[in-house]
């Protein structure tokens, strides 16, 4: 009888431990998300927050594929690729969005080819800027996209 009670207690405390553990774990799932950079209202703050600097050398080895004219700013297809060596991340910025930093792709494994393709929202006609981190240096390139209907309206 005593033993049974003891078992229940042990089980109970184990379960409690698991719940506390889960509670502690939850915020950790977001630890990587850089709020300062992704909520920044201007490009220098976003770039410095994410990449440690807002200065990047312009490189035409970064190719940005995006439409010249986007009829619908809510869905603008953007592809970025580069033949720069040692690329560890590619970030995409829409220069006139309220929060300009849109996405950052971090290549954890060297097998990943410096290529990303996604669809972004653009509030108005602006530059799509791609920032590439290669080695310890930052490179960038830009492509202007004319937006006829903004994608962040309301």
């Amino acid at each position: 009888m005593i033993d049974a009670k003891r078992r229940t207690l042990v089980k109970g405390s184990l379960a409690a431990g698991a719940v506390v553990g889960a509670g502690l774990m939850a915020p950790r799932a977001f630890a990587d998300w850089n709020a300062a950079a992704f909520q920044a209202k201007d490009i220098p703050t976003a770039m410095t927050g994410l990449l440690g600097s807002d200065s990047a050398e312009v490189s035409d080895r970064i190719k940005i594929k995006a439409p010249d004219i986007a009829e619908n700013g809510a869905v603008v297809p953007v592809t970025v690729e580069t033949d720069l060596e040692g690329v560890t991340s590619i970030s995409i910025i829409a220069s006139k969005n309220q929060t300009p930093l849109i996405a950052s792709f971090e290549f954890v494994d060297p097998s990943v080819i410096p290529f990303v393709s996604t669809r972004i929202k653009m509030a108005e006609t602006a530059d799509v800027i791609a920032v590439v981190k290669a080695g310890d240096k930052l490179y960038k390139n830009a492509k202007n996209v004319k937006v006829t209907i903004g994608g962040c309206g309301g």
Partner: protein, 104 residues
């Protein structure tokens, strides 16, 4: 039932992964045109891509990625049948993941 669709195809020594996720991607900046109330933010913040269980790419997003996000990336190597796993977590703590095998 996951709302992530993944296609991974091996061509030569490169695998191309294409992925579609189902998500509203609300920025938190938009107002409801009728009530004039701000629509709360609800967007994917992190996406983790794994090949054979190992993380190869981590991405962070703002609400600036379009609704029902599309993501494509490429990597060298990979073999037909290798599992590709894509997992996202959004700003409300919701998460989803899906796995697909590389096809030839």
């Amino acid at each position: 039932m996951s709302d992530i669709k993944i296609r991974a195809k091996l061509e030569g020594d490169e695998t191309t992964v294409k992925c579609l996720m189902s998500h509203p991607m609300e920025t938190g900046l938009r107002k409801d045109s009728k009530t004039n109330e701000v629509i709360p933010a609800h967007f994917i913040r992190e996406v983790v891509c794994k090949v054979k269980g190992a993380v190869v790419m981590k991405t962070s997003w703002s609400g600036g990625v379009s609704k029902n996000p599309y993501l494509s990336f490429k990597f060298k190597g990979g073999a037909v049948g290798d599992p590709i796993e894509i997992a996202w977590t959004d700003n409300t703590g919701e998460s989803q993941s899906a796995t697909a095998e590389i096809s030839g």
